[in-house]
């Protein structure tokens, strides 16, 4: 539930849904996010959902904190039904050349590589938020058996399409970017497409996501 509304600077509202990171908390965040997207309230310039917070930026020349806070407090929320959310299916190639950190994971977790992959593929994930870099989805929760901290020293360049896991989350690098997540595979799919301006991100906050394994040949031949 929405616990508190604070100001973040003079042009944003900080909606606090508590400290826990789980689907239930995040669903509240997403409900507010989707309601606000639909309502298109005057003065709001950006809405950023994350695990357990929602930040609403506004144009200070149009609206001020106190006024918007009242509106948010009295918001009539739309109902989101869990099973209405679409499942996005993401192909992933887990061959050695793409699974840069599978050996490390296997050693540290003391689990066979195949078993890690199996465990990873078995679960359906949930998109808590998108961002950091354009279109990067933060998905959860990974099976507790395959959770590990990020790399001690982040990579300067993580290849585009890399699928990484860290702690209870997994993500997809939509661009080549610096990063410290444990890379276990790579997807040939365009998870972010700036030329599709209506729906640039294949995975959006609140979506369900399933990964399926493809081999190198399929990876190379993959056409969208």
């Amino acid at each position: 539930m929405l616990k508190n509304i604070l100001n973040l600077g003079d042009a944003a509202l900080y909606c606090d849904f508590g400290n826990e990171v789980n689907r239930k908390t995040n669903l509240h965040v997403i409900t507010y996010f989707k309601t606000l997207q639909k309502l298109n309230l005057k003065g709001i310039t950006n809405i950023t959902p994350s695990y357990n917070k929602l930040i609403i930026s506004y144009d200070l020349s149009i609206i001020k904190f106190q006024e918007l806070k009242e509106e948010i407090k009295n918001l009539k929320l739309i109902q989101i039904k869990n099973n209405e959310e679409k499942i996005v299916k993401i192909p992933v190639c887990l061959d050695d050349e793409f699974s840069l950190d599978l050996n490390r994971l296997s050693e540290k977790l003391k689990i066979e590589k195949d078993k890690i992959i199996q465990t990873f593929l078995k679960k359906e994930y949930f998109c808590y938020m998108t961002g950091f870099i354009a279109g990067m989805p933060f998905l959860g929760d990974t099976d507790s058996k395959i959770r590990l901290q990020r790399l001690d020293t982040p990579r300067v360049k993580v290849p585009k399409g890399s699928v990484g896991i860290t702690e209870q989350f997994c993500n997809i690098y939509t661009f080549e970017s610096p990063g410290g997540w444990n890379i276990i595979g790579n997807t040939p799919i365009k998870v972010f497409d700036k030329f599709n301006q209506k729906n640039p991100a294949k995975i959006n906050p609140g979506d369900r996501v399933a990964f399926y394994k493809i081999n190198k040949d399929e990876y190379l031949k993959f056409n969208e």
Partner: protein
Amino acid sequence: MSKAFFEIIRPGIHSTLQDLGRNNQYHIGIPFSGSMDKRNYLISNKLLGNKPNEAVLEFAYQGPQMKFHSGKASGVITGNVTFNIIRNNSKIDKGICYETFILNDGDILDIISTNKSVYGYFSIKNGFTGEYFWESCSINTKAKIGSNNGEKYEAKQKIYINKKESLSNLKKINYLNSKIEYIRVLKGTNFNFFSKKAKEIFFSSEFEVSKLTDRMGMRLEGPKIENFVETNIKSEGLIKGVIQVPADGNPIIMLSDHGTIGGYPKIAVVISADYDRLTQLTPGSKIKFKLIELKEAENLYKLYEIETKNILNQII
């Protein structure tokens, strides 16, 4: 009819097209972007009678040297900038900021440098030809979004302008960019992660703007700001002006191309009225922070807006 364009001889350090930025894409990881010093950006368009959101060339430190081809156009440069116009008969006209000039076929615009500031703006009557992503042509080099494939300009590239012949009446204003003495801030959402002593240090010390400062963020160096609760938080949304303090104790201020989410505690947030002048602080500049209340920040922004309007209204 061929289009008029600028051919880049020397690109400068970071030359990009910018406008008022793009709204409503934070949730997919795309920041606001847009001109860093909005007031100088707006003045440049107003001096030429352009739409307020027309694409303008923003440059940092050293600007571009560019040759104008196949047209005749009025232009203007705003900011604190040294530049020359090398006429096609080799005569050199010394450039004057905030005063429109005319460029003819073969003239070379040589933007030498910004002085005691970072960003300058070159606007052309009827604007540069931008490519629009989510209603903005602003170049975001990190996400590779906007005009020029989201890249800064390089030598030999061409920048097209919208109209071959675009002249406006000669216009000028007297405008002095004021120096900011201290950055006014509001408490951040993790203000109490920092000890009483750390807060005292934060508001009493001078910080130096580090060389590692760009359109994404401004890194500061000075006394370490000690966190006594937790040096990481669950990643959450950011906005421009947020001051994060990572485990090393050195504050980072989020600027217009910032990552949309981050996991470092937020000690403070720069008020909107001080943002334009904050972005103009060069590496090596010394700054101090002053804590104020929300109401005051809102009033200061109102004043800043009125001041901007008054400047723009001088230009008829």
